[in-house]
């Protein structure tokens, strides 16, 4: 467990070094992976999931992927855009008028 803390600390420090503002760090628990992942000459079956919320320039993505690729303790590195949740206005299924569509596409 202190190793995971060290890994997290390293990544967060690397992020801050490149000028990213870390907003939040979430632990999604430790569970067995859905499939065996082989990384760094080892076959992994269990792993811990962490989610780091940060803001930064898009140029650090490639450098961070490089950095995390060299870290042995990191099994899978992924970057994701911050999700903008916008499902408040979901009106139901609007029936599409196929006839009109067909005629209009002439």
């Amino acid at each position: 467990k202190p190793e995971t803390a060290a890994v997290l600390k390293r990544t967060v420090e690397a992020l801050m070094e490149r000028g990213a503002i870390v907003r939040n760090l979430e632990n999604l628990g430790e569970r067995s992976l859905p499939y065996k992942i082989s990384k760094h000459k080892q076959r992994h079956r269990r792993g811990g999931y962490f989610l780091v919320d940060f803001e930064g320039p898009p140029s650090i993505v490639s450098t961070m992927m490089d950095h995390l690729g060299r870290d042995i303790d990191v099994i899978r590195r992924t970057f994701l855009k911050h999700p903008v949740s916008k499902t408040e206005e979901c009106s139901g299924i609007i029936p599409v008028n196929y006839e009109d569509k067909l005629i209009a596409k002439k």
Binding site: L28, L33, P34, Y35, I37, G47, Y49, I75, R76, T78, L80, P83, S85, T87, E88, C90, S91, G92, I93, I94
Partner: protein, 92 residues
């Protein structure tokens, strides 16, 4: 007397799909696994799930993301989610 122009008063509210109003996330594997075949792990099409355009697209994107990120198994359905209630009208 002339007929008054008005909107159809007997209009039914628009039909809502199962996920209308629910935020789809790549992290809740349970929800995503309900739209995946238990034997092969393939994603069900629109004629089976009965979702609207937007939601079907969101679900497929989320499932593919979950595959890549290592949240959801690819070739099969997670056994702990096999006893979930049936949403899609699948005919085995």
């Amino acid at each position: 007397f002339q007929p008054i122009e008005m909107e159809n008063p007997y209009k039914e509210p628009p039909r809502r799909c199962v996920l209308c109003g629910i935020n789809v996330d790549y992290k809740n594997v349970q929800l995503l696994s309900q739209f995946v075949s238990p034997h092969t792990g393939r994603i069900y099409g629109r004629h089976i799930t009965g979702l609207c355009n937007k939601k079907q697209k969101e679900i497929t994107k989320a499932i593919k993301r979950a595959h890549v990120f290592g949240f959801m198994p690819v070739m099969y359905k997670n056994p702990s989610f096999l006893t979930d209630p049936k949403i899609c009208n699948v005919k085995y």
